[in-house]
Amino acid sequence: MVKPDESVTDPAIMTAPELVIDARAIVTRFGKQVVHNGLDLQIRRGDLVALIGGSGTGKSVLLREIIGLHRPDSGSVTLLGTDIWTASPDMLAAVRRRFGMMFQEGALFSSLSVAANVATPLREHFSLPEDLLDELVRLRLALAGLPPDAASKMPSQLSGGMVKRAAIARAIALEPEVLFLDEPTSGLDPITARAFDQLLTFLNRDLGITVLLVTHDLDSLVGIARRIVVLGQGRVIADGSLAEITAVDDPWIQSYFSSRANLPAPIRHQQ
């Protein structure tokens, strides 16, 4: 029940934060198609990592394997110190309280209002008094950048950007230590997408949440990702800061980054 103190400690102060995600030798096959072939990925606390790669390189699948939704054919995934694929149901349930996931289409419960969506995990895991719960839900909505009047709306009444914000609000409801996002800015206009980037930076920097996102959005990469992991040929083909990634001699990476001519040059990442 009691989390270790590191959970809220500033990552900048600590010299080597512990690993929160440790995926080793992941092999995933769909029929004859090999998606991951001995893939390794380690992420430390406080990181903001973007996962990129061409279509079919298994970015979303990897995400689902890390959070325990899809079993890899072989390999191990350790999330927050728990081996996801050998853990007992109780241990798994305990880990699930410590991370949040935002699905690509939001996956809001369409029969519940936005406020009830955010309240669902809180009600499930804690017995909070109604007024505190209500206040906590409104804080989550405010943290996700939603206006107060969005609380009583149904998911079908929200715009695409607001659906994603509501999904974030639900994902951070339990004060997660790690937040997973599957293409958070897809389908959003650039202005909304940049606001979303700021939201992620804020969650990462100010709330100390480790963030792993799958994205195709170059602006997101340039703007927020401290570390970029490129998947290809069933493994990690490049891993590092934006400058390091762009220097890698790989045809896919080169064509990916040259698809945008107006990248700020020289690419420098603010630490």
Partner: protein, 411 residues
Amino acid sequence: MPRPPHPSRSPQTSRNCSPETRPSRRATFDPHRAVAVKTPVEFCRIDSGDGATVLMLQGLWQIAQADRIAIALGKLGKTVGEVQSIDGKGLGAMDTAGALVLLSRLRAAGIDPGTIALVNFDPSHTRIVEVVRSRLPSPGPAQASQAFGLAARTGQIASNLGMTLLGHVDFLGRVVFELARALRQPALLRPREFMSQLGQTGVTAIPVVALVTFLIGVVFAYLLGLQAEQYGANVFVVDGTALGMTREFAPIIVAVIVAGRSGAAFTAQLGTMKLTEEIDAIRTLGLSADQVLVLPRIAALMITLPLLVFIGDVAGLLGAMVIGQTMLDITPHTFLDRLHTALDPKHVVIGLGKAPFFALVIGIIGCRMGISVERDTRSIGINTTSTVVQSIVAVIILDAIFAVIFQQLGW
């Protein structure tokens, strides 16, 4: 630290003691244990030394403790209103939930959470408090509760029902118009979709229709036979089942089965297409959704339902024949012989003639409920349920209307 020797633990007392008194002696006051139990529960205390009132925080201020923190803050009572600064030296951890409880309690006590000073806070804790402080939700319920009175609710339901029926009538008009157009220009009918629907609504429904009507025929003939036997009028069971099955039972039963099967399928199929914007895509491509999707379904159903009713007639009579053979001493030969004389073909025709109208109603309701699915997945389920209920009710109402009309016409 070694525990000081307790008088009751000395050997001679324990030897003299009876077993019953032992537990009570264990529960005697032990200062060390009392301290050990109390410490982690305390989250905050007020320190008013040096003339300044300071709220001292300690322990873990996280969401898992949020309810107990709220109670602990509540116990401080009115003194919270005099707090001038908050000391976070003893804080083990703080998350946004903990900060929220703290700040909203201060605000409730009349302190502006924006001005209160934070002392000895870890930088990460300060940041959490600052974040929550800047986004502190305003007090009071976020949503106005909408409580409607009985009259308002009744009115709303009646109005919704009226709008639904009006929509059905409107849709019926459109479909009949399209149907008429398709009859004049058969090219407008989409043969592939039409044939596929004939298969889905007709051929695959045969087993369930045959089984159910056969059993209805069995049950009906059996119950009728029990009565007829008392008067030695066994053979009249044939008259009764033939008339009942062909004119009423087969059409109604088959229509109800088809409403549950094909009507629900129409709504689910079209509803999913609406959700995935396929219907919009059809419109954008310059095609009419009514023509491409609705017409083949309704036309197919209007053709297959009478055929299914005919299968129902036959299966029902077969069921009656089995009962006649086994329980009522009516041989199949006698049964068929009696059937020829007793069953006026007009009853069969009336039964079959009602079927296309039932099909039209089921098709209209099924397709329209599918097309009027809203943007969320939940409404597919709601509309599918609604289709089945509406179709069955509509079929039975229609059948009652037919009964009255035929009665008046003397058929």
